[in-house]
C-alpha cells in the first residue's frame, strides 16, 4: 500500500459535500442510520449472545429461545475465573503479547532504520531474508521449531512462547515504507546539527513514528493474544498457559458444556484486546492510511 498524504484542502471539500448531501435528502441520513444500526447489530449479534449467556444459569439457557439476561453473572464469572485460572492466564498472555509487540517494534524499527538511512551492502538480500518470514508461517516449520525449542530447554517458558515470533516482515515493511515517505531534510538537518544516527533515531524518528508504532502494537498485541496452536504445544503448566487455551479448558468438560461459565470466560478474555483496540484504533486507521499528525 503506497502512502499518500492528504491535503488539507480536501477536508474542506469533503465538509462542503457533507452539508450538501444532508440538505438535499432529509430522509437519506435517517435511512442510512437505520441500515447501519441493523448492520451493526447483525455483526455484533454473536458477541451480544455471548454476553447474555454469560449471565444465565444452566436452568435459564436450557429454556429454548430464552435470550433474556439472567441473574447468574457473578457466579458464572467467578467460576470461570477460578476454574481456568483466568487471572494467571491473562497475566501470562499479557507478558507474552506485550513483549512480542514491543520486541517486534524495536527490532523492526532498527532494521528499517538501517535499510533506509544507511548504505548497506546486500540491502535487497537482507530485505528478502526478512520477507521470508512471511513466506514461512509457523505451520510450515512447526515440527522442527518445536524440537529446536526443546533443545534450548524453552518448552513451557515465556521465551519459548514469545521469541519465535520476534522477527517479522510486517513491522520492517511498515516502518521502511513510512521512513521513505519522510523528507530527507529531516535527517539532513539533524546531521548538520552534528547529531549522530542514534540521536536522530531517538529524537526525530521515533517521535514521528508514533502512529505507526501504535498501529503495529495493536496488530501484534491482538495477534499474540489470540495465539492458539503454538501455546497449545509449548505451554504445559499454568505458569505459562495462555488465555485461548483456558477457553479450550472451559469447554472440555467431561459431561455437559456449562455455557454460562464458558461465555463468562469468553467475555473476560475478549476485554483486554478490545480495550487495546478501542484505545489505539485511531492510530491503526491513521497508520494504515498513511497519515500521521506530525508529517503531512
Amino acid at each position: 500500500m503506497s502512502v499518500q498524504s492528504t491535503p488539507m484542502a480536501e477536508w474542506s471539500t469533503r465538509a462542503t459535500e457533507r452539508r450538501l448531501a444532508f440538505q438535499k435528502h432529509v430522509a437519506y441520513p435517517v435511512i442510512m442510520h437505520a441500515v447501519m444500526i441493523a448492520v451493526v447489530i447483525i455483526v455484533l449479534l454473536p458477541l451480544i449472545f455471548a454476553f447474555v449467556l454469560s449471565t444465565q444459569s444452566s436452568a435459564d439457557w436450557r429454556i429454548v429461545g430464552n435470550i433474556m439476561p439472567g441473574s447468574n453473572a457473578v457466579e458464572n464469572y467467578t467460576i470461570a475465573w477460578e476454574r481456568a485460572s483466568l487471572g494467571r492466564l491473562m497475566f501470562n498472555t499479557t507478558v507474552v503479547a506485550v513483549s512480542v509487540a514491543v520486541g517486534k517494534i524495536i527490532l523492526s524499527m532498527m532494521a528499517a532504520f538501517a535499510l533506509v538511512y544507511f548504505r548497506i551492502r546486500g540491502g535487497i538480500l537482507i530485505l528478502g531474508l526478512i520477507m521470508l518470514t512471511h513466506l514461512l508461517p509457523l505451520p510450515v516449520r512447526i515440527v522442527p521449531t518445536y524440537q529446536l525449542l526443546s533443545s534450548f530447554g524453552w518448552i513451557d517458558t515465556f521465551q519459548g512462547l514469545a521469541v519465535p515470533f520476534f522477527a517479522s516482515a510486517t513491522g520492517v515493511l511498515l516502518f521502511q515504507q513510512f521512513f521513505r515517505t519522510l523528507t530527507t531534510d529531516l535527517a539532513d538537518a539533524s546531521r548538520v546539527d552534528g547529531a549522530g544516527p542514534m540521536t536522530f533515531l531517538f529524537r526525530i524518528l521515533i517521535p514521528v513514528s508514533r502512529t505507526n508504532i501504535g498501529a503495529l502494537f495493536l496488530i501484534e498485541f491482538t495477534y499474540m493474544w489470540n495465539q492458539y496452536l503454538w501455546p497449545l504445544l509449548v505451554a504445559n503448566s499454568v505458569q505459562t498457559r495462555q488465555v485461548q487455551i483456558g477457553i479450550k479448558q472451559l469447554i472440555a468438560t467431561d459431561a455437559t458444556v456449562e455455557w454460562g461459565v464458558l461465555m463468562a470466560g469468553v467475555v473476560t478474555t475478549i476485554i483486554p484486546p478490545l480495550v487495546v483496540l478501542l484505545v489505539l484504533q485511531r492510530s491503526l486507521m491513521a497508520g494504515l492510511s498513511g497519515e500521521s499528525e506530525d508529517v503531512r
Partner: protein, 435 residues
C-alpha cells in the same frame, strides 16, 4: 522484658525460621501430575491432591489440568520428546501402547519398590493395564460403557421402565415406539462411538486386531471390516436412516441432548453417571450395553478411562513420593470418595466391600450396573481389549468411518474397508519403527 531476653527470643525465632525454611527447601519434593479431568471431576481430583499435600508434609503434588485425554497424551509425549517429562501423567486406555513403547515409563511395581500388590485390585482393570504379566500403571479412573435410559420416557410410551432393551433389535423397536408415541424426537445416541464399536467387539468375544489384539506382539492388522464390524455398523446406519439414532459427536456432547430429552437412550461412559444423574430432570435408568443378534460369543466390556503412569528420569526420593501418592489414592476412603463423586470404578476390592457394607449400591443401583456388567463377562483374549500403536489416530480414523456411514450415508463395508487399510498401514509403520 529485658534486652537480653528479647535478644534470645529474637535469635530463637530466627533460628526456628531458618530451620523451617531450610527444611522446606530441602525436603519439599515437587511432583507434577498432569491430568485430563475437567469440570466437577477436576474438582474432585484437586480435593484429593490437596488432602494428600496436607497429610504428607515434604511432598507437594502439583496437579495440572492439561486438556482432553488426547491433548494430555500429546503433551506428555511431547514433553518426553523434549526431555522434560512430568512425574505422573493420566493417560486414557488409547494411549497404553504408546506409553509402553515410549521407553519413558516406570512400571508401578518398580515405583513401589515391590510394595505393590495387584491382587488387591479389581481383576478386569488389572488385566487391561498389564503387559508381560505385569501391571504397568496405577489404575485410577477406570470406566466402561453402559446404556443410560430415560425411565419417564419409557413409561410415557407405554414401555416398562424396568425393562431396558438388551438387544439391537429391541433398541430399535423400543425407540420406534417412543418416537411414534411422540415422546421424543429420536431413540438413542452414543458418546465415544468408536469406543462403543470396540466395546461391541469385546462384548461379543470378537478379536479386533491380530497378535491377540496386540497383546502378544505389535499388532499389524485390524479386523474392523470383517463380517461382525460391518454388521454392527450396518445396524447403526439403519437406525440413523430411520431417525432412531441421533448422532451426537465423538465424546460427551450427546449428554446434553439426552438430559434435554431429545432421545430416550444413550450409550456412554459409566463415568458420566454422576453428571447425568445430577442434571437430568427425569429418572435415569442404566443397563448393560445391548447385544447384536446372531453373534453369541461371550466376552466382556472393555475397560476404559484413565490410568496413572509414572515417568522415568526422576530420582529415588521423587519415585518414592510418587508411590506415596499412588498408595494414597488407592486407600479405601479416597477410592470411595472418587467413585461417589464421579461414577468411575472403585479400583480396589476393599473399596468395593466398603461401599457394599455401607449400602451405597442398594441406594444407588445405577452405580452398580457398570460393576455387574464387567463381572458378568468372560475374561477372554478379545475381551481384554486391544493395545494398538498410534491408537489416538486410529480412534480418529474409526470415528470418522462411523460418521461417514451414520451421518453421510457411505456404505458401511466401504467405510470400514477404507479405515482398515489406513489403520493397517499405520500399524505397519509403527512396527517398522518400534521393533
Amino acid at each position: 522484658m529485658s534486652k537480653r531476653r528479647l535478644l534470645s527470643v529474637l535469635l530463637l525465632t530466627t533460628a526456628l525460621l531458618a530451620t523451617f525454611s531450610l527444611v522446606s527447601a530441602q525436603d519439599e519434593i515437587q511432583i507434577s501430575f498432569w491430568h485430563a479431568m475437567s469440570g466437577s471431576r477436576g474438582e474432585v481430583v484437586q480435593e484429593l491432591v490437596d488432602e494428600f499435600n496436607e497429610t504428607h508434609p515434604g511432598i507437594e503434588v502439583v496437579a495440572e489440568f492439561s486438556g482432553s485425554y488426547a491433548d494430555t497424551l500429546t503433551k506428555a509425549l511431547a514433553a518426553v520428546r523434549a526431555g522434560e517429562p512430568p512425574h505422573i501423567v493420566q493417560v486414557y486406555e488409547v494411549g497404553t501402547r504408546a506409553m509402553l513403547d515410549s521407553g519413558a515409563i516406570l512400571p508401578v511395581a518398580e515405583v513401589s519398590g515391590g510394595a505393590f500388590d495387584p491382587a488387591s485390585f479389581v481383576a478386569p482393570i488389572v488385566n487391561y493395564y498389564s503387559a508381560g504379566g505385569e501391571l504397568q500403571c496405577m489404575p485410577f479412573n477406570s470406566s466402561t460403557a453402559m446404556l443410560y435410559y430415560n425411565k419417564d420416557m419409557f413409561a410415557a410410551a407405554g414401555l416398562d421402565p424396568d425393562q431396558p432393551p438388551t438387544t439391537f433389535q429391541e433398541v430399535y423397536d423400543m425407540s420406534r415406539q417412543i418416537m411414534d408415541a411422540g415422546v421424543a424426537q429420536g431413540g438413542i445416541s452414543f458418546g465415544w462411538p468408536a469406543w462403543i464399536l470396540e466395546q461391541m467387539y469385546a462384548k461379543h468375544d470378537q478379536l479386533l486386531a491380530n497378535e491377540d489384539g496386540g497383546r502378544s506382539a505389535l499388532a499389524t492388522e485390524v479386523y474392523l471390516n470383517n463380517e461382525f464390524g460391518v454388521a454392527v455398523l450396518s445396524e447403526w446406519q439403519r437406525w440413523a436412516d430411520d431417525g432412531v439414532l441421533i448422532y451426537g459427536g465423538r465424546e460427551y456432547s450427546a449428554n446434553d441432548p439426552f438430559i434435554a430429552g431429545e432421545f430416550a437412550m444413550l450409550a456412554q461412559s459409566t463415568s458420566s453417571l454422576a453428571g447425568i444423574e445430577s442434571n437430568a430432570p427425569f429418572e435415569v435408568g442404566t443397563a448393560f450395553l445391548p447385544r447384536l443378534e446372531g453373534y453369541d460369543g461371550i466376552g466382556n466390556n472393555v475397560i476404559g478411562g484413565g490410568c496413572l503412569w509414572a515417568l522415568a528420569g526422576h530420582d529415588e526420593a521423587e519415585n518414592d513420593a510418587m508411590w506415596q501418592f499412588f498408595s494414597f489414592l488407592s486407600e479405601t476412603p479416597q477410592s470411595v470418595a472418587w467413585h461417589k463423586g464421579t461414577g468411575y470404578f472403585p479400583s480396589t476390592l476393599e473399596a468395593v466391600d466398603a461401599l457394599e457394607a455401607e449400602g451405597w449400591f442398594e441406594e444407588n443401583p445405577n452405580f452398580l450396573t457398570a460393576f455387574d456388567q464387567i463381572l458378568a463377562g468372560e475374561d477372554t483374549v478379545a475381551a481384554q481389549g486391544v493395545l494398538l500403536g498410534d491408537f489416538v489416530t486410529i480412534r480418529d480414523i474409526v470415528g470418522a468411518a462411523i460418521e461417514e456411514s451414520v451421518v453421510n450415508g457411505v456404505d458401511p463395508q466401504e467405510a470400514l474397508d477404507a479405515a482398515t487399510a489406513e489403520i493397517n498401514q499405520l500399524l505397519e509403520d509403527y512396527k517398522s519403527l518400534n521393533e
